[in-house]
């Protein structure tokens, strides 16, 4: 019981962080049709900016300032980079963001060095929030959940309850019509791109000190966010939410369960030879590849994803 509850909490925390990361990606993709390969790099930038700001001003200002700064970077990159690439079609855009991800990683290495920086959880958030049976739940994980739920609600309210949200939604499916009505669609695109990468940066701010802030952190999450978006359905925010939680929880439980491939094969009535390397593999070892397995399965059986609105 303790194990199930603790793993569930761990899984949800991880899932929420994944959602924060991938929501921006989904937003940008559904709006602009741009698959932003550099998305995880903005997550890394968020962590590094937060580290730098927290050295000068402390953690709380960093929580606000870092995503704003990264958002501003995003706006400038869209305005002076991506918009030009846009003229030459999707392939040019894709290559542009692909190159951007390498550029950002190298810049981070040059500015902050190759090793991890000492970005720590603030003292006020160090400690135990509550104790479940005999396991402690740290305050910081609670804080991570709070921030991501807050972000989810704010995003939902923005998209469905405000005028800006309505225009954004309209530009999503009928950009020509929106433009004809006198709205500045390129500017909306620019703001969405800035907002999307700011969300990734926010995830970086709270993920960077929970885990570790180093130049490899973008590559570490770079692929998993695409899994979330593909599984959730391209362009679906709700889908990304469900997929994030699903992947977070499945992966956490897979690590925790004591099941080997032999056991799983036995379920299907297949007898594996005990001496084989394959038979000795445990679910725990397979946990890191499960999301990718999931993605391949989704692409084969339901290409539009769990909640995707369209095929591509």
């Amino acid at each position: 019981m303790e194990f199930v509850l603790v793993s569930l909490l761990n899984g949800i925390t991880y899932g929420m962080l994944l959602f924060m990361l991938s929501s921006g990606l989904t937003l940008i993709f559904s709006m602009m049709g741009v698959l932003n390969f550099a998305h995880a790099s903005f997550y890394m930038l968020g962590a590094y900016f937060a580290y730098q700001v927290s050295v000068i001003l402390g953690f709380w200002p960093a929580l606000l300032v870092a995503p704003l700064l990264v958002g501003l970077c995003g706006v400038l990159i869209e305005r002076y980079g991506l918009r030009n690439a846009h003229k030459y079609g999707h392939v040019a855009e894709l290559l542009f963001t692909f190159g951007l991800s390498f550029l950002i990683e190298e810049i981070v290495r040059l500015v902050w060095g190759k090793a991890a920086v000492d970005y720590r959880i603030p003292e006020a958030l160090n400690g135990t929030l509550f104790t479940l049976f005999s396991s402690n739940f740290p305050i910081y994980k609670g804080f991570m959940m709070l921030v991501s739920v807050g972000m989810l609600l704010a995003l939902y309210a923005l998209l469905t309850r405000t005028r800006t949200g309505l225009i954004v939604q309209a530009a999503l499916s009928r950009p020509d019509m929106v433009e004809a009505l006198g709205h500045n669609v390129p500017r909306i695109f620019m703001l969405v791109f800035g907002g999307g990468v700011a969300l990734a940066a926010l995830a970086g701010v709270i993920g960077g000190n929970a885990f570790i802030t180093e130049p490899g952190m973008a590559a570490a999450v770079g692929t998993i966010v695409f899994v979330v978006v593909v599984v959730g359905g391209l362009g679906s925010l709700a889908g990304a939410f469900v997929a994030s939680l699903l992947i977070g929880i499945v992966q956490t439980f897979a690590v925790g369960l004591n099941v080997s491939i032999t056991d799983i094969a036995a379920l299907f009535g297949v007898e594996l030879q005990a001496s084989g390397a394959m038979a000795r593999l445990t679910l725990t070892q397979l946990a890191p590849i499960l999301p990718y397995l999931f993605m391949v399965a989704i692409l084969v059986f339901r290409p539009r994803g769990l909640m995707g609105a369209r095929e591509s």
Binding site: E2, F3, V6, S7, N10, G11, Y14, R109, K114, A115, A116, D118, T128, T131, S134, S135, N136, F137, P138, Y140, K141, A210, F211, I212, E214, P215, G216, M217, A220, Q251, T252, F253, V255, G256, N258, T282, T284, Q285, A287, P288
Partner: protein, 411 residues
């Protein structure tokens, strides 16, 4: 005429610039991660090498020459290390050292052996300061490889001997990184515990991808569910500090038996929660008695406030190498290797011996526990935490010896 003289001066200045001094240099290539998840480990190691090399150079150098460390970033990967090794041989460097990752060490041993077979006049010597997979001095041993750290089996032998008398150990969980080293630790732990403490139950055994897990809380939840009272882990670098951090956050009350808890952020991650819970097996720590390295270590810590001196074996290795060069009156790797094998040497913690049969250094080891600084048994703290390591058991060099299956091809 004056033009010609100034040209000569220029040449002389250039020559000085390139050699740095009138003495020739013996270059030692340092092939370890300087970027990626283990960059901090490689960086700390390099600084320690530079410190002792500087001391050796100030006290006469080796065979009349100065030593110099040349860093190569292998990003923690065997493939990159082989590319590094190519540059090493291209630059005519004859000594290499590496420590982080037995996978890398295996690749380098292979490459060095092949290179030396093809280039007998340009042989390269591999000095291993931390890769502890036992096979490197057993089945896969090589004349060109010398190991200055106790191998994983020797360490596990010492840990399990200690556990033999600790009746509180009842349920053991083994967690390790999924590569040669983690496998070796798990295998040795199981075999030795079965022989020495058949009553102890192994309640779980897991391998995780090396350097890729950022959140260990699912593993900690599993350890808790298995109700383990003791964890054995060979993890190092961030794989250890993040594990300990997750254990602390979840309030896991179990003893950690580790190889590498004494450095690189792990003490900081443990803080007060590690007191009396985390043990390490090392060849040295800041509170060993008598501590002949104290002054050196304090000077190092002062120079690098973010680091704590950690690798006594690096000092032992560099000074032994210098002695071997002095004894051989040469810096030729083949002749130096012949001096190194079977060398008895007075290191800071006592007599050490480079066993000739497998090139494994036999040195005293210590089991120590994380405890509050008290000015006596715990004279120095570590990473400014207010906690340091306290010796629980000293193992004499002789008692650390294990038989070897090495059949060495000699020159």
């Amino acid at each position: 005429m004056s033009f010609r003289i100034s040209n000569m001066q220029l040449l002389a200045a250039l020559a000085l610039l390139f050699t740095g001094s009138a003495l020739a240099q013996v270059k030692i290539a340092y092939i370890d991660p300087l970027s990626g998840p283990f960059a901090n480990v490689g960086d700390a190691g390099l600084k320690q090498f530079k410190e002792i090399v500087e001391q050796v150079n100030q006290t006469g150098g080796a065979a009349g020459q100065k030593l110099e460390m040349v860093p190569f970033d292998n990003k923690g990967s065997p493939q990159e290390s082989l590319i590094n090794f190519k540059s090493v041989t291209d630059q005519g460097i004859r000594y290499i050292t590496q420590g982080n990752g037995s996978g890398v060490a295996h690749a380098l041993v292979d490459a060095v052996s092949k290179w030396n077979a093809r280039n007998p006049d340009k042989t390269v010597l591999f000095l291993n300061y931390a890769a502890v997979d036992p096979t490197l001095t057993n089945e896969k041993c090589s004349f060109w490889h010398f190991r200055f750290d106790a191998n994983s089996d020797m360490k596990m032998e010492a840990i399990t001997n200690f556990m033999e008398n600790d009746k509180k150990v009842k349920k053991v969980f083994i967690l390790g990184q999924d590569y040669a080293h983690g496998h070796a630790v798990a295998k040795a732990a199981k075999a030795m515990l079965a022989a020495k403490r058949p009553d102890v139950k192994i309640v779980g055994e897991d391998l995780h991808p090396i350097g890729r897990v950022k959140d260990f809380s699912p593993y900690v939840a599993k350890i808790k569910a298995a109700d383990a009272d003791t964890i054995i882990t060979g993890n190092w670098g961030n794989d250890l500090s993040l594990l300990v951090k997750a254990a602390k956050d979840a309030g896991l009350k179990a003893k950690f038996y580790t190889y590498y808890a004494g450095g690189l952020g792990t003490p900081t991650a443990m803080g007060a929660a590690g007191e009396g819970q985390v043990l390490q097996l090392t060849e040295w720590h800041m509170n060993v008695q008598p501590n002949k390295t104290e002054a050196f270590a304090l000077a190092f810590n002062k120079k690098y406030p973010d680091l704590d001196f950690y690798y006594l074996r690096v000092n032992t290795m560099v000074t032994m190498l210098a002695k071997a060069m002095n004894d051989a009156k040469s810096t030729d790797p083949t002749r130096v290797a012949r001096q190194l094998e079977d060398m008895h040497y007075q290191a800071d913690t006592g007599d050490v011996w480079m066993r000739k049969s497998d090139h494994q250094l036999i040195q005293p080891l210590y089991i120590s526990i994380f405890a509050k600084q008290d000015g006596k048994a715990v004279k120095h703290d570590i990473e400014h935490t207010g906690y340091g390591f306290k010796t629980l058991a000293s193992i004499s060099a002789r008692d650390t010896q294990l038989p070897t299956s090495c059949v060495m091809e000699r020159l």
